[in-house]
């Protein structure tokens, strides 16, 4: 039973890593970026290529996946996304779906349509028993990495100068510009950072959920659910939401497998009915 609880937490953490980047772009920059999964996929493929073709060890691939997606994000932000900030949400949805289509076809063309696999180093495989509870080593690794990341993100946003500049730029672009905040640069960095997080999420999740060109669409729904349920005004919200959904989903499938995917969807609807701003939003 505790094992399944732990699995739920690990799954929730995984959802969080993948969605954290979206929480940054959607939550902080108020941009509906459905192409988020495409950046995650880019990170995943970068890892696969680095590991299988160049023999780079897995742990070294993680930061590289982050950088690769971040660079990709930066390029796209400067050339395309920057034109979309002032648009309606609907335009943003369509624009980013268009990007998703292109990403899917491009990945298919470059990498082939079948599933890609990565080989974990042996020290991340297998499982250990802690106080009678069996825990998968890789899942433990996920929980630790994601926990650290969540903490780090929160610190950056709340404590650093950059964080306050970003929050100011989001709240009122014109006033922020008037105060001498380089809004364009702040947004570009934030977007690149968000994409980088997505790439890291993609690299970490390939082991558990697999990686193929359909990835951006397959997991788009999960990202969105986490972010909307968590609320878009902080990062703690999505984190708690991801954990809640992860645990509920895994426990639900374990205890009442007949219900299947109902639990996660029903929870989302219930939360949005009761609190349209998200579960943990304080409201702006």
């Amino acid at each position: 039973m505790l094992t399944i609880l732990f699995d739920g937490i690990a799954y929730g953490m995984l959802l969080f890593v993948m969605a954290a980047g979206l929480a940054v772009t959607l939550g902080l920059m108020n941009f509906v970026n459905l192409a988020h999964g495409a950046f995650a996929m880019a990170g995943g493929y970068a890892t696969v290529v680095l590991m299988t073709r160049f023999g780079v060890p897995f742990l070294a691939c993680l930061p590289l996946a982050f950088l690769f997606s971040a660079a990709l994000g930066l390029v796209f932000e400067r050339t395309l996304y920057v034109r979309m900030y002032e648009r309606s949400h609907l335009d943003q949805v369509l624009f980013s779906i268009g990007l998703v289509f292109m990403a899917i076809a491009a990945a298919d063309y470059l990498m082939g349509s079948s599933q890609q696999n990565i080989q974990l180093p042996s020290y991340l495989q297998g499982r250990i028993t802690v106080a009678g509870v069996g825990i998968g080593v890789y899942r433990l690794f996920l929980v630790v990495i994601c926990g650290l990341m969540a903490l780090g993100l929160q610190l950056i946003l709340a404590r650093t100068r950059f964080g306050s500049q970003l929050r100011a730029a989001v709240d009122d672009r014109r006033v922020a510009r008037g105060l001498g905040i380089p809004v364009g640069t702040v947004f570009a960095i934030t977007f690149a950072f968000g994409s980088g997080l997505a790439g890291l999420g993609g690299a970490l999740s390939a082991e558990i959920v697999g990686l193929d060109p359909g990835f951006p669409l397959k997991f788009m729904l999960y990202f969105l659910i986490v972010v909307t349920v968590g609320g878009t005004s902080s990062l703690t919200g999505p984190l708690l939401a991801a954990l809640l959904l992860g645990v509920a989903d895994v426990m639900g499938k374990y205890l009442v497998p007949q219900l299947g995917a109902f639990i996660i969807y029903a929870m989302m609807l219930a939360v949005l009915m009761i609190r349209p701003q998200g579960l943990f939003a304080r409201g702006r």
Partner: protein, 393 residues
């Protein structure tokens, strides 16, 4: 005023678009057209790629002329959506006047097109979809892939002979999965074994953890698994991650799980897995060696059982045309196909004249390292297996 102007522009656009619809239906008398409908995009795209590559390779190797007729292959993408499959099939029949429909990557796609084959009396060669009941949907359907019950028999019998008494099954929750689950239970129970638990995993399922935990709780002798190809490696990794391999649960599966397309990249976790299937790229015969070499060269990937279905489907169409001396009459072609038998790269196969389904050897295999790569190595054969569901009727 502006809105009026704008509207006339829109109308002009619409009209221009409408005129484009007037395609030119070119009709050539001496060509035989084969409509190959496959999912080339979307979640099942890899199925489409394998079948298409094999079909094209077949034409390249055997020449594009049969019985004095030129063969023209028309490949269409149905995106894995049944209503699109149906529309494309209907258009191919009405506009392109195809003589044979082929392809069909998934069960519902074959179901959607089946009534058209009956109405137009056109042979429909199912090259991939594997639910047993497909061939019953139209008297014009012939299958060159396999059925899930057919390949499940092999592993179920192997399990009961090798001391599996209490087993569990884990299948993907859709037609083929349920077919596999049922067959496995029947065969194992008939041989004196017992299925102590059945788990069905949703088709869109990112994480196997909760389902595997149920298996781990029940501690069966063996776990029988069917998941569609592509999910196999994820499953395998999580099976090992949970320590199930060490706790004495033997993993047995249909060959979809250790799909040739995937098995090499799964790594050591796959080693030793016993599966049963109708085709392995490692099958030891001169026909297969030639096929694998040519396919790998042409398509730059290892052929899997989907490619095999495409290859034999094309062979069936070619041989039927030879038999009818190039006549493209649907009923004549169908009659020519019934009862046809030949040696395929996968081994000896034939088309059962009664059920129009494929009869073939089912091999029990084990994942081993051969020349540095992982392969399914065959070690035991069940000869000339027919689909057991239809045989029982």
């Amino acid at each position: 005023m502006t809105s009026r102007f704008a509207f006339s522009r829109r109308a002009a656009i619409a009209l221009g678009g409408a005129l484009v619809l007037a395609g030119s239906p070119a009709l050539a008398q001496e060509t035989v057209k084969i409509g190959l409908i496959l999912p080339m995009t979307g979640p099942s795209a890899s199925t489409g790629r394998q079948v298409e590559a094999a079909a094209k390779l077949y034409i390249a190797e055997k020449g594009a002329t049969v019985a004095g007729k030129k063969i023209e292959l028309i490949v269409k993408d149905d995106t894995g959506t049944p209503d699109v499959t149906r529309r494309i099939a209907q258009e191919l029949l009405v506009n392109d006047k195809v003589s044979v429909l082929a392809g069909f990557g998934l069960t519902p796609l074959a179901f959607a097109a089946a009534p058209l084959a009956t109405q137009s009396k056109t042979p429909m060669v199912v090259m991939a979809a594997a639910t047993s009941s497909i061939t019953e949907q139209s008297p014009y359907i012939v299958r060159t892939s396999f059925t899930l019950p057919q390949v499940t028999i092999g592993i179920a019998d192997w399990a009961s002979k090798n001391g599996v008494k209490k087993a569990m099954s884990l299948v993907t929750d859709y037609g083929p999965g349920i077919d596999a689950e049922k067959t496995f239970k029947e065969r194992l129970t008939a041989a004196g074994g017992e299925v102590i638990g059945e788990v069905r995993v949703p088709l869109r399922n990112p994480d196997f953890a909760p389902f595997l935990q149920r298996v781990s709780d029940a501690k069966p002798d063996a776990l029988f698994v069917f998941v569609p190809s592509g999910f196999g490696s994820q499953f395998m990794k999580q099976f090992v991650e949970r320590g199930l391999d060490k706790s004495g649960v033997r993993l047995i599966a249909t060959g979809d799980v250790t799909d040739d397309d995937q098995v090499d990249s799964m790594g050591d976790v796959a080693l030793g897995t016993v599966t049963s299937h109708h085709y392995s790229a490692n099958h030891n015969s001169p026909e297969n060696k030639a096929f694998v070499a040519a396919f790998t060269k042409a398509a730059n990937m290892r052929p899997n059982f989907m490619a095999m279905g495409g290859w034999d489907g094309m062979n069936l169409i070619y041989e039927a045309l030879k038999k009818t001396n190039g006549s493209t009459d649907g009923t004549a072609l169908l009659e020519a196909m019934k009862g046809m038998s030949w040696t395929s790269p996968r081994g000896p196969i034939s088309i059962d004249p009664k059920t129009r389904d494929i009869v073939q050897n089912v091999y029990v295999r084990k994942v081993e390292r051969v020349d540095g790569q992982l392969y399914n190595v065959e070690f035991s054969t069940f000869e000339a297996v027919a689909d057991p569901v239809k045989a029982a009727k």
